[in-house]
C-alpha cells in the first residue's frame, strides 16, 4: 500500500497547513498583541524511527533535553479516521515563548508553572485546531477533537509504547516571536486504516488520483 506522499501532495498539504497556521498566528497576535511569524511548514509521511532520528539531531542539540508535548485526539465524524495530534517543542523553547508572550522574560524559575503550562496548552490548542481545521477541509469531514493535554518527557520516552515501524504525518513548524526562534513539530499519529483513508482523501481533494 502507498504510504508516501508525492512532492505535489506534500506541497499541497503544506499550503493547506500554511493557511491554517496563518490563522493561528493571527489568533496569537490577537491575544498577545505581538506579531508572531509562522514559517511555511514542511509536510511528509515518515516512519516513527526516522522521526526519532530527526528530533534527536535537528533542533535538539542536547539529546537529554526534555520535550514538551501538547496532544489532542481527533476522530472524524464518519468514524473512519482516528488520529492523535502532537505538537512537540523543546521544553526550554516552549517555556521561553510562553514567558515572552506573557511579558515575563525575567522570571528566573527553571520550571514551567501550572498556569504557564495552561497557557502553553492554549498555544498548542490553537495551532493544533488550526491544522485540524484545514485537514478537515481537505478530508471533507469534520474532525472532532478533545481538549489539549500538556506533558513533558524525554525524547526516548516519546514512542516507548509504540511500534517504530508505524507511519506518522509530520508538519515541521517554525515560530518566531520577537527575537525568539522556536521550531516545533506537529505530528499526526494514525493507525493504518486511518492513514489509508487520509491518503485517499488527500488525493481526491487535490485531484491527484488520476494516475
Amino acid at each position: 500500500m502507498k504510504v508516501e506522499l508525492s512532492e505535489l501532495e506534500r506541497d499541497a498539504l503544506a499550503e493547506a497547513f500554511n493557511l491554517s497556521l496563518g490563522q493561528a498566528a493571527a489568533s496569537f497576535a490577537d491575544i498577545v498583541n505581538e506579531e508572531i511569524q509562522v514559517s511555511v511548514p514542511q509536510v511528509e509521511i515518515i516512519l516513527r524511527q526516522e522521526l526519532m532520528l530527526r528530533l534527536g539531531s535537528a533542533g535538539q542539540p542536547d539529546q537529554d533535553e526534555s520535550l514538551c508535548a501538547i496532544s489532542q485526539t481527533f476522530r472524524s465524524a464518519d468514524e473512519q479516521i482516528a488520529a492523535e495530534a502532537l505538537l512537540l517543542f523543546p521544553e526550554r523553547g516552549g517555556l521561553e515563548i510562553v514567558r515572552r508572550m506573557l511579558g515575563e522574560s525575567s522570571t528566573p524559575l527553571e520550571q514551567i508553572t501550572e498556569l504557564e503550562q495552561d497557557a502553553l496548552g492554549e498555544i498548542g490548542n490553537i495551532i493544533i485546531n488550526a491544522c485540524m481545521n484545514s485537514l478537515s477541509d481537505v478530508f471533507d469531514v469534520e474532525m472532532v477533537g478533545t481538549l489539549p493535554s500538556v506533558s513533558r518527557f524525554d525524547l526516548q520516552e516519546l514512542f516507548d509504547d509504540k511500534d517504530g515501524n508505524m507511519h506518522v504525518l509530520v508538519a515541521q513548524i517554525g515560530m518566531r516571536l520577537s527575537t525568539q526562534d522556536i521550531t516545533g513539530h506537529m505530528l499526526i499519529l494514525m493507525d493504518l486504516p486511518s492513514l489509508r483513508s487520509v491518503i485517499d482523501r488527500i488525493q481526491v481533494f487535490f485531484g491527484l488520483n488520476a494516475g
Partner: protein, 450 residues
C-alpha cells in the same frame, strides 16, 4: 441522571452546558454559587444568561465548538476572566480568576458544548509568590556571587601584598599550628610549607629557642594580649639575624579569636646600631672604659645600695702626671696609646666588679662598691701607681707616666654623690701638689732611651 447531577454539584469547578443552538441548558451548583445568573437564564444564549460582559474569545471558542467540533482551552494567562464570576463571599468588585475549557460533544447526533471553569485565583497567588521568591533568590545569588568575587579579589590582593611584603607574615590556629606563611617568613624561619603547615610554627627552631619562645607566645595568645618578642636566629643559609615578632589574635564576626596573625621583622641592623649607640653613650670610645655619665650613674646606684645595706663605699679620682708633655712632644696618637695602655693597666689591676671610668682628658675614676679596709685600699692604690708608672712603649721610645689620686669614703667623707666627688677631687689635688713638691725636689721623669 440524578447521580450525575450529584457528582457535578459536588466538584470544585463550574460546568455550563449549551445546546446545539448555543442556549444555556444547565449549570452545576458551583456555577450557580459563583455566577450571578439572570432569573430566566435557562434557554438563553450565553451573553444573555450572565449579568456581565463575556470575553469574545470565549464566545468564538463556543461557536467553533458547536460548528466544527473543536475543543479549546482558554488559559488564564491570555484570558484572565472570560466569564463574570465572583467569589462566594466577596465584594461585587472582586472577580474570580479563571481558566476555561470549551468541550465539544455530541448528544443524539447534535453538537453540544460544555464550559468547564476552574478558579485559579489561589494558584495565581501562589505562582506570583513563587516568582517573587525566585526573583529574590536570583538577586541574593547575584549579590552573593558579587561578594564572592570581591572576597576573591581581596584574597588575591592580600596574597600579592603578603608576597611582596618585606616582613615575614604567618598565621596560625589558636594552638599555634601554622595555617599560612608568606615567602619571606618561609625564608626567615627556614620553613618548608608543604611539610610544616599544620605543625607548631616554632617547628624549625632549635629546642633551646623554640620551647621558651613558644611558651611565651602561647601565654600571650591565651591571655589575649599582643605579643612582642625579639630573638636571634642563625639560619642555614645566613648568619645570625635578630628578629622581632609581633602577634595578635584574628577574630571572627562574633569577636571570638579564631587564630593568631604574626609578623616577623628583621631588626638585625637596628639591633646592632642600638648596641653601638648604647655603648657609645656609656663608654669612652678610646679606652673602652665607662664614661663620666655612666660612672656617675654607677656611683649613684652604689650609694643607694650602700645606704640601704649600711655599708661603706669608696670613690677614687686618679689623674695622670706628665701626660701633657707626652702629648705635646709625641703627638695625639702617642697620647692615645698612652691612655689606652694605662686604662688597660688600671682595669687589669682591679677586680671585675670594680668600676673604672675615664672621666675626661687624663682623669680616671674608680668605684669600689664595698670599700676595702684602709690598709688594703692603700695597698691597692700603691699597686696601681706602680702599674701606671711602668714604662709605656711608643715604638721607638718609651715614656713613664705618674699619677695622683684622691679617695672619698662613704659615709665618712660625704653622704651624696656631689660631696663625695668633690671630696675625692680635692684629695687628688692635695696629693698632686704634694707629689709636685717631691718631684721638684728630685729630677723630673724624663723620657727613657732616645
Amino acid at each position: 441522571m440524578r447521580s450525575v447531577d450529584t457528582l457535578l454539584n459536588s466538584v470544585d469547578m463550574g460546568f455550563v452546558t449549551l445546546n446545539e443552538s448555543g442556549a444555556v441548558q444547565a449549570c452545576n451548583l458551583w456555577m450557580l454559587q459563583h455566577a450571578r445568573l439572570k432569573p430566566d437564564w435557562i434557554g438563553q444564549p450565553l451573553p444573555d444568561a450572565f449579568d456581565g460582559v463575556i470575553d469574545p474569545h470565549l464566545l468564538s471558542a463556543v461557536k467553533e465548538a458547536l460548528s466544527k467540533g473543536c475543543s479549546s482551552r482558554l488559559s488564564h494567562a491570555f484570558h484572565p476572566m472570560p466569564l463574570p464570576l465572583y467569589p462566594v463571599r466577596g465584594q461585587d468588585s472582586e472577580r474570580l480568576q479563571q481558566a476555561v475549557n470549551v468541550i465539544a460533544y455530541e448528544v443524539d447526533g447534535q453538537r453540544h458544548c460544555a464550559l468547564q471553569v476552574r478558579d485559579v485565583t489561589e494558584a495565581l497567588r501562589r505562582e506570583q509568590l513563587l516568582k517573587q521568591q525566585a526573583q529574590q533568590l536570583a538577586r541574593d545569588v547575584a549579590e552573593l556571587r558579587q561578594a564572592q568575587a570581591e572576597v576573591a579579589r581581596q584574597s588575591l590582593r592580600f596574597s600579592e601584598m603578603a608576597k611582596l611584603a618585606p616582613v615575614g607574615l604567618f598565621e596560625t590556629d589558636m594552638a599555634g599550628r601554622l595555617t599560612y606563611a608568606n615567602d619571606r617568613c618561609v625564608e626567615m624561619l627556614g620553613l618548608n610549607p608543604e611539610r610544616d603547615l599544620g605543625k607548631p610554627w616554632t617547628q624549625t627552631l632549635s629546642p633551646e629557642l623554640a620551647v621558651p619562645l613558644f611558651t611565651r607566645w602561647r601565654c600571650a595568645a591565651d591571655s589575649d594580649t599582643r605579643v612582642v618578642e625579639e630573638f636571634s636566629l642563625a639560619g642555614a643559609r645566613h648568619e645570625e639575624r635578630r628578629y622581632r615578632l609581633e602577634a595578635g589574635p584574628i577574630r571572627d564576626l562574633l569577636q571570638t579569636p579564631i587564630g593568631i596573625i604574626s609578623t616577623l621583622m628583621d631588626v638585625t641592623d637596628l639591633y646592632h646600631r642600638a648596641e653601638r649607640h648604647e655603648f657609645r653613650a656609656n663608654h669612652d670610645v678610646l679606652t673602652g672604659l665607662s664614661n663620666r655619665h655612666r660612672f656617675e650613674k654607677r656611683v649613684t646606684a652604689a650609694l643607694a645600695g650602700a645606704e640601704a645595706l649600711n655599708q661603706s663605699m669608696a670613690l677614687v679620682y686618679l689623674d695622670l702626671d706628665g701626660f701633657k708633655p707626652v702629648n705635646d712632644q709625641f703627638g695625639h696618637a702617642a697620647g692615645d696609646i698612652v691612655l689606652r695602655t694605662i686604662a688597660k693597666r688600671i682595669r687589669g689591676t682591679l677586680r671585675s666588679d670594680d668600676t673604672v671610668a675615664r672621666l675626661g682628658g687624663d682623669e680616671f675614676g674608680i668605684l669600689f662598691t664595698e670599700a676595702p679596709e684602709a690598709k688594703q685600699l692603700q695597698a691597692l692604690l700603691d699597686k696601681l701607681t706602680q702599674a701606671i708608672a711602668k714604662p709605656v712603649s711608643l715604638g721607638d721610645v718609651e715614656v713613664r707616666i705618674g699619677c695622683s689620686y684622691g679617695v672619698a669614703i662613704f659615709p665618712g667623707d660625704g653622704v651624696d654623690v656631689q660631696s663625695l666627688m668633690q671630696h675625692a677631687d680635692h684629695a687628688m689635688y692635695i696629693h698632686k701638689a704634694a707629689r709636685k713638691h717631691d718631684l721638684e725636689a728630685s729630677p723630673a721623669p724624663a723620657p727613657l732611651g732616645d
